[in-house]
Symmetry: C2
Subunit: 377 residues, 2 copies
């Protein structure tokens, strides 16, 4: 095959974006098909080839070019057109933001022949109109491709595993898992398979998790379950869009992640509290309510986990607390802030295919993004 050159535009240069630049530049030149030709923060843009992992931040800071994301695809395609002779050039934009505005640009980029790789969940879990536009745009001849492995489980092989199952005619019955690293940590600590004599209070675990940086600054942004609902939306839409087998049962058409049946963990009186500080200060008042549920599960030889389920046979997509026997992998095998995902399918039956490991963090998220970039190459 002809040598390939992949021109990469990177939007968002926070922890994941910076790590991604480092990972791309660490690939030895002889086998590195990637050329970073554009970088953008939320304010500034750098129209230049990035070759040094040390120099680009200063160059971006010094740039007087504003971040005009609507022009990026055109810029990249101009560079592609300048490509010489036998080298196959293509362009890809990596969106490392969590911006809904950026996500809404994907359909245009795809139409322009530019591929999109991203850990940003917004486009795939928000308005169904955006999702439909992405599917339609990428189906056209000459369109770019989109890959979103790192939207679920970061670097864990989740989306690609699911797509290969579906694309080879397997039937998904149910996907079930712990999809939030934050929720995983909180429940592994609070409702352990081997309970301690003096178990910690729920609010105490949340407070410590926040201090360690495992939660969002406002823990309600984790405890509301929205992050899990977004991941479930992505999985459910992937099942619906990529299944080739005649399915038994079918999934509801989710207009957005808000359609997922989500049972969040925020005590009603604490809904709408503005600051994380106030939230953790007032949470202890509800420890008794949490404790009753935990103790009841413990009496039944079970633990509590915050899980997400895409049940194709029942036609249900839901997130919330569930009980599992202390011998279940969600109880025994989980630790730290691991994600775990079980695929129950026609072929992986009665025993599921399981993927487990850290599902958050800049290094593994960037690895998931780079893995998608390598698929394009």
């Amino acid at each position: 095959m002809a040598p390939k050159e992949i021109l990469v535009g990177i939007i968002g240069v926070g922890l994941v974006g910076s790590e991604l630049v480092s990972q791309i530049l660490s690939i030895p030149a002889a086998r590195n098909p990637f050329k970073i030709v554009f970088l953008s923060s939320s304010r500034k843009a750098l129209y230049d080839t990035v070759t040094s992992p040390d120099a680009w931040k200063a160059a971006l800071d010094a740039s007087s070019d504003p971040a005009d994301l609507k022009a990026v695809a055109g810029y990249l395609q101009t560079l592609v057109a300048q490509g010489s002779g036998s080298t196959q050039r293509q362009a890809v934009i990596v969106d490392n933001t969590s911006s809904d505005d950026v996500a809404r640009l994907y359909p245009e980029w795809l139409k322009a022949g530019v591929s999109v790789v991203t850990p940003n969940k917004k486009a795939f879990s928000g308005d169904k109109a955006v999702w439909d536009a992405i599917l339609a745009a990428s189906a056209a001849p000459g369109a770019g491709r989109w890959l979103n492995e790192s939207t679920v489980g970061a670097g864990l092989p989740v989306i690609n595993t699911l797509k290969e199952m579906l694309g080879s005619g397997d039937r998904v019955k149910k996907i079930e898992g712990v999809f939030s690293g934050t929720m995983s940590y909180i429940f592994n600590e609070w409702s352990a398979a081997t309970p301690s004599v003096n178990p910690p209070k729920f609010s105490e675990v949340v407070r410590v998790a926040r201090e360690k940086g495992y939660t969002e600054p406002h823990p309600a942004d984790d405890l509301n379950g929205a992050d899990v609902a977004r991941k479930l939306t992505i999985l459910a839409r992937t099942v619906s869009a990529f299944s080739i087998a005649d399915g038994k049962g079918s999934l509801p058409e989710l207009q957005s992640y808000e359609d997922v049946d989500t049972q969040g963990l925020i005590p009603t009186p604490l809904e709408g509290i503005k600051t994380g500080d106030e939230f953790v200060e007032r949470l202890p008042k509800y420890d008794g309510d949490f404790e009753r549920v935990r103790v009841q599960a413990e009496k039944e030889g079970q633990v509590l986990r915050f899980v997400g389920v895409v049940d194709v046979e029942e036609g249900v997509v839901k997130a919330g607390l569930a009980q599992y026997p202390v011998t279940h992998p969600f109880a025994t095998s989980l630790g730290g802030s691991d994600n775990i995902i079980m695929f129950h399918t026609e072929r992986y039956s009665p025993r599921p295919l399981i993927v487990q490991g850290s599902g958050a963090g800049a290094a593994v998220t960037a690895m998931g993004v780079l893995g998608d970039l390598l698929k394009l190459a």
Copy 2:
């Protein structure tokens, strides 16, 4: 991108090969880039386009063409050259045999520009000269690609997960797992995490496993550990060939899978026994030896598992019995004939990335093969 057409030649039409044909033909025409243009059993070949999952077996039986595998690549490339206009055509051979002779043809096929996808472990775990020839052939401009996901863990995402880790600069410290479905079944039954009052004898478990078709006809072909040693060789060579990070430690250069430090389970007096029947008849005499090891582990709160380890930091590749606490995922999470693979890497540290599920059977093996074919498309 221009539409692609992938011409597929399939060698070996036993359980996996037949299932693969079915899976390929079940892809809806509008999104099916694959065209099966050649089929071969060990005796006969069919030079024709396969469109019906029912008719090809009779056509192959009726064929008077012998299975001349040296000519296949040339035949496929002739068809590729006949391709029309804007469609990008490429050719791939799928080797569903376990033949060493077929495996030795891969370098020639790759040089001819034909890709190779296979669950056959022989080429990647046998003579180092063949492995080197495959690497060299596929590195040349215009060469075919090779993909071998289903050589380890069948349809489980093992090889590709490893390649993406390595290709994005992660450092593998250790890969550890239960790589044989047969060994998994035997030890899950014989050395359970929750021991029964009247545990079965080792020979009894082997006999039942054989009757259920979980072992080879001659159980010594499983108990010798060679299958595990082959899989470890593939993983170790993959680590060495695809690492881009400067590694701490390094792996030994394996001249073949026989270089793996393998502690098989065949009692010395039973080595070289010709038939499976005689083997299972004489195995009970050694139950006491097995039992002593199991009971000792049980006293220490541990189970026995037959595991494989690729330890990059220690520079060791080995297969054999090992003990694990009853709380370890190898004890609690395994069941049936599951494989489980733990990747300990710089990024997945201290907690590993884990992949688990059925690692054998025609449906999941063919799915792994088709997953590789989809990567080419």
